[in-house]
Symmetry: C2
Subunit: 198 residues, 2 copies
């Protein structure tokens, strides 16, 4: 006998739509929701709607914001360095470390012909325009470490041929605190190629 | 610089409140929500409120239902066998297998003095009352396999001293399809103790 009420089934389906959440976890989460006070669930529901309604892409850098312009763009309007990332959440580790004082630009992904993502699906034309029009001295290409990210960085580099802007990418090597024994081949290759004198 | 809008932070906090969801997963889910169309998020939000409002405990068996009385209680009102489980979702594997045709009773947990859960925090008194008043012939105690579950089963057994009702519990042993090499000691102990003649 199907013992789950229809509204519970619907909620399981919604949880199962989330990335990385399988059917079993979705069921566990939905049953958990039913054990919580109605006010608590209503607060969760309104947090969902609130975030969805208020948060949008910053018109300058395409990071998520609830302001007209994001706080970083507003604060660093004269930045001479621009860090290009794939997605909004990639900005967090930079700001946590505090190492970078420039502005950001969220590309919205990387070029991937197999997935039908070309330069037009990304904010690439706007990036090129901005670099050409503004007084940008350094462009840090901080786009993941996939082959697609590498070729996107290469394409950006080519599109800026003749433009006087320094292009850099993040160093590749052994991450802090990792055991050498468990480092994968590609990382080891990159770390060895990029070895520096003591 | 804190780059996350307040409404995004609030949503991350709500996801992180869910059991088994850490801060990193919560952030990933919240960022995912921001990439979805507003209508889709509104549907998720209303599924939450809908389930929370419509679903309640069945007054007879305490399983989750959106009816006055749950479909199983309504269908098996004359059942002579009652299966006692800890929580509502424990009913699913029984109904999936189709092996049990009786009614259920959700205890709401097991006795755990360390967590302050005594017989009064559970539906134990109601269970005893129901067994005494109704024509129940067999009580299947299908509580988990923790020491607390074992002592709760024992306590139910004692509370029914003098009542003419057969009490059973589920068999313990090697689950189907499992590799003997990876069976834990306690399961092996129970499986060996409970070995049967061919």
């Amino acid at each position: 006998m199907n013992v789950e009420p229809q509204s519970l089934e619907a909620l399981i389906g919604e949880f199962a739509n989330l990335p990385g959440i399988g059917r079993k976890t979705a069921r566990r989460l939905a049953y958990h929701i039913l054990t919580r006070p109605k006010e608590e669930v209503a607060q969760f529901a309104s947090a969902l709607e609130n975030a969805s309604e208020k948060v949008h892409a910053c018109p300058r850098c395409f990071s998520f914001t609830d302001q007209d312009i994001c706080p970083i763009c507003a604060d660093r309007i004269d930045a001479h360095a621009l860090c290009v990332v794939e997605k909004s959440s990639d900005i967090l580790p930079f700001e946590r470390s505090g190492i970078f004082k420039g502005a950001y630009f969220v590309l919205g992904g990387v070029i991937s012909p197999l997935d039908g993502i070309g330069p037009e699906q990304l904010h690439l034309p706007l990036l090129i325009k901005r670099v050409k029009e503004e007084n940008i001295e350094e462009l840090v290409l901080a786009l993941g470490s996939s082959p697609e990210a590498d070729s996107t960085a290469l394409m950006i580099d080519r599109m800026l041929d003749g433009v006087n802007v320094k292009r850099t990418r993040l160093a590749r090597g052994i991450p802090m605190g990792s055991d050498l024994e468990f480092v994968d081949e590609i990382t080891m290759l990159r770390a060895f190629e990029g070895r520096v004198s003591l």
